[in-house]
């Protein structure tokens, strides 16, 4: 899902770079205002965990692979604002140090995965999280699946605006493959969240009491 340089036309990557800078700045300030002090040690722990998980590709269908993106996972554990900032840092390190994802396309990748992927992934837990443990597990699964689909949909829009391929096949294949990969994203998100909740009941956001 990390878009390399060359896939996006100049207006598309430039507009998204320009959009990403104030967006991430806004979420940095929001995190400063609202982040719980007790969760500060988690910023590094969860950033490291999601970075490591993103390194490991698993086979999907017909000779393709995928890996966890972790947008929903970060949103449920850090809150969506901090999740956006941590995911942006992951994408920055991946592009600069590991040459995964383009430098010019960084804004596109940030908007797709760190902003939209994180916030869309958070919606099911926000809506269903207070309605009992079974629905929380389902909300985690759905959040993971939706976050990946939202990022894939946006990537398809950007590639289509860049005239890389005809829109029909582009949307069909991007959404088709990621609908399958999204099941793995959802399962990993739900299993990790369930394990974390067993260790600490109030950990997953929004907490059950809220």
């Amino acid at each position: 899902m990390h878009i390399p340089d060359g896939f996006l036309s100049i207006p598309v990557w430039a507009a998204l770079d320009l959009a990403a800078i104030p967006s991430v700045g806004y979420f940095v300030r929001r995190t400063q205002r609202s982040f719980e002090d007790s969760r500060i040690p988690l910023l590094g722990v969860l950033g490291s965990f999601v970075f490591a998980a993103q390194m490991i590709n698993f086979p999907v269908v017909a000779g393709t692979s995928g890996h966890l993106i972790g947008g929903a996972l970060l949103a449920f554990t850090l809150g969506p604002s901090a999740a956006t900032v941590v995911m942006t840092a992951i994408l920055l390190v991946q592009a600069l140090v590991f040459q995964d994802g383009g430098l010019l396309a960084l804004g596109a990748n940030v908007i797709n995965m760190a902003v939209v992927g994180v916030w869309v992934g958070y919606v099911p837990m926000k809506l269903l999280g207070g309605r009992g443990p079974n629905l929380r597990g389902f909300a985690a699964f759905l959040g993971g699946w939706l976050s990946l689909m939202a990022a894939a949909l946006l990537a398809a829009v950007e590639l289509s605006l860049s005239d890389m391929a005809p829109s029909g096949p582009l949307f069909a294949s991007m959404l088709g493959i990621h609908a399958v990969t999204g099941v793995a994203e959802g399962l990993i998100t739900a299993v990790t969240l369930t394990a974390i909740q067993r260790l600490n009941r109030s950990f997953v956001l929004p907490s059950e009491a809220a």
Binding site: F49, A52, M55, N57, G63
Partner: protein, 95 residues
């Protein structure tokens, strides 16, 4: 909170040390789509300028230690980012 941190820390190290052994090297979703729709050659990859390009430390020949070194570097960088950002969050509210 401590138990969650230990659990996630253990999981992270397991992923780096063992996950790289089983990771698939098939193209990912976007790469596969680019190949099937014929625009994969538009990717501008250039020369690897980073000694850690593609999650392998270029100065080590054998693949597991090269990947583990790269993975540990990424984990350390993200942990470091967490510490710096944590300080920024505290400072931001004057605490």
């Amino acid at each position: 909170m401590k138990r969650v941190i230990l659990f996630l820390g253990g999981l992270t190290l397991t992923l780096v040390l063992l996950g790289v052994l089983v990771a698939s090297s098939s193209p990912d979703g976007l790469e596969a789509v680019a190949e099937s729709l014929g625009f994969s050659d538009r990717a501008v990859e250039g020369e690897p300028y980073s000694p850690f390009a593609d999650y392998e430390f270029r100065l080590i020949d054998s693949s597991w230690p090269a990947q583990v070194t790269a993975g540990l570097l990424g984990v350390a960088l993200m942990y470091g980012f967490g510490i710096v950002f944590g300080r920024l969050v505290r400072r931001g509210r004057g605490g």
